[in-house]
Symmetry: C2
Subunit: 203 residues, 2 copies
C-alpha cells in the first residue's frame, strides 16, 4: 500500500488528464466519476483503483492548479532583488501566459472557494503570496509616506486587473463586445497596460 509501482503510468495519467478537464469545466459537485471514466475512456472502477476516491482525485487536480497559480507567482513576489514595478511586471506576464493556456482556471478556483470545505484553505495556508517580500515593500513604502493607500488595495488591484477578464470572458464574447480571437489581443495589450496603470496607483 505504501510504495507506488512504476512501469505503466499510462492509465493513471489518462485518468488524471480527464479529471483535469472535467473538474475544471464543471466543478467538483457537478462532476460524476462516470464522466471522468468516459472522458478517459477507461473502466469506471479504475478511478477508485488508482485514486482512492473522487475527493482524493480532486485534491490532486486542485493541488496542481494552486501550485501553478499561487506558488510559482510567489517566486517573483519574494525575489528581494526586484523592485515593486519589476515584480508586478513579471507577475502580470506570468499570469497572462498561464491563463491564456488555462482559461478555465479562475472559474475553477473561484468555484471551489465557494463549495470547498477545507480543501482550498489547506493550500492557501502555506501561501506565501500575502506574506511576501512585495507586501513588505509596500508596507515600507506606506510607512515612508510614499504610498497613499493600504497595500492590500494594490494587491487586490493586480490580481483583479489580471484575472477578471478571464472570468468575464464568456459574457464578453457572448455579447459580441469582443470578437473571436480579439480576446487574446486584448490580454496581450494588458501586459503593458496593467503595470502602467499600477504605476499610476502607486503615486
Amino acid at each position: 500500500m505504501a510504495g507506488k509501482k512504476e512501469q505503466d503510468a499510462s492509465t493513471e495519467e489518462k485518468i488524471l488528464a480527464a479529471a483535469r478537464v472535467v473538474f475544471t469545466r464543471k466543478g467538483f459537485a457537478a462532476t460524476k466519476v462516470r464522466d471522468i471514466a468516459a472522458e478517459a475512456d477507461i473502466n469506471l472502477s479504475l478511478v477508485n483503483y488508482y485514486f482512492r476516491s473522487k475527493e482524493k482525485l480532486f485534491e490532486v487536480v486542485m493541488a496542481e492548479a494552486v501550485q501553478k497559480l499561487v506558488f510559482e507567482i510567489s517566486t517573483f513576489f519574494n525575489d528581494e532583488q526586484l523592485s515593486i514595478p519589476e515584480k508586478i511586471t513579471k507577475a502580470v506576464n506570468y499570469y497572462i501566459d498561464l491563463l491564456l493556456e488555462n482559461p478555465d482556471f479562475p472559474l475553477f478556483l473561484v468555484n471551489e472557494i465557494i463549495t470547498g470545505d477545507d480543501m482550498f484553505t489547506r493550500f492557501a495556508q502555506q501561501n506565501t503570496l500575502f506574506q511576501s517580500h512585495l507586501i513588505r515593500q509596500l508596507f515600507a513604502m506606506k510607512e515612508e509616506g510614499k504610498l497613499a493607500v493600504h497595500p492590500v488595495h494594490i494587491m487586490m488591484n493586480v490580481i483583479g486587473l489580471v484575472v477578471m477578464p478571464f472570468l468575464a470572458r464568456p459574457i464578453l464574447e457572448r455579447n459580441d463586445l469582443v470578437k473571436d480571437g480579439e480576446f487574446v489581443t486584448l490580454m496581450n495589450e494588458r501586459r503593458m497596460l496593467i503595470p502602467l496603470w499600477l504605476k499610476g496607483m502607486l503615486g
Copy 2:
C-alpha cells in the same frame, strides 16, 4: 395552473429565502432539495409543490441575483445625462453597497457561469451592460483620440476593481492580511479610490 393564489405567501417565501441562502453558499449542484427544506424548516414536498422543480426554483433565485447585479446597474450606464466619471462613480457606489450586503453574490454568479447550461446565458442575453450608453461614450472618446485603449479594458477594470476584493475576501481574511471588520473599511475607501484610479486610466 395559470393563476397564482394569494393569501398565504409565508411558506413560499420561506422556501425562497432558504433557497437564496443555500444556493448562494453552495451552488446549484452541491445544493440538495432537502437542504433547502431543512433551512426553510418545512416539509420536503412543499419545495416541489410551490416551485415545480429544483431547477425552476434556482432560476428564480438566479434571476433575482442577476436583476440586482446587472439590470439595476445598467440604469446608471444608460443615463445619457451622466458623464463617464459620474457613471463610474455611481456604479462603483451601487456595487459596493450591494456587495457589502450580499458578499456571496460574486462567488455565486461565477460559480454558475462555470456549471450553468444556458441559465446564465439567457439572462446575459438581455443584458444592457455591454451595449450601454457608457460603452458608446467610451467608443466615441476613442474615436476622438482622447482614449488610448480599447473601451473594453475600461469596462473590465471597473468591474474587476469592484468585484475582485469580494472574491478574494476569504483568502485575505484567512491570511490575516485583513483584520476583522477592516474589510468594510477598505471597501469604503475604494468608493473614492476606484473612480480616481479610473480617471488616471482614461487619460
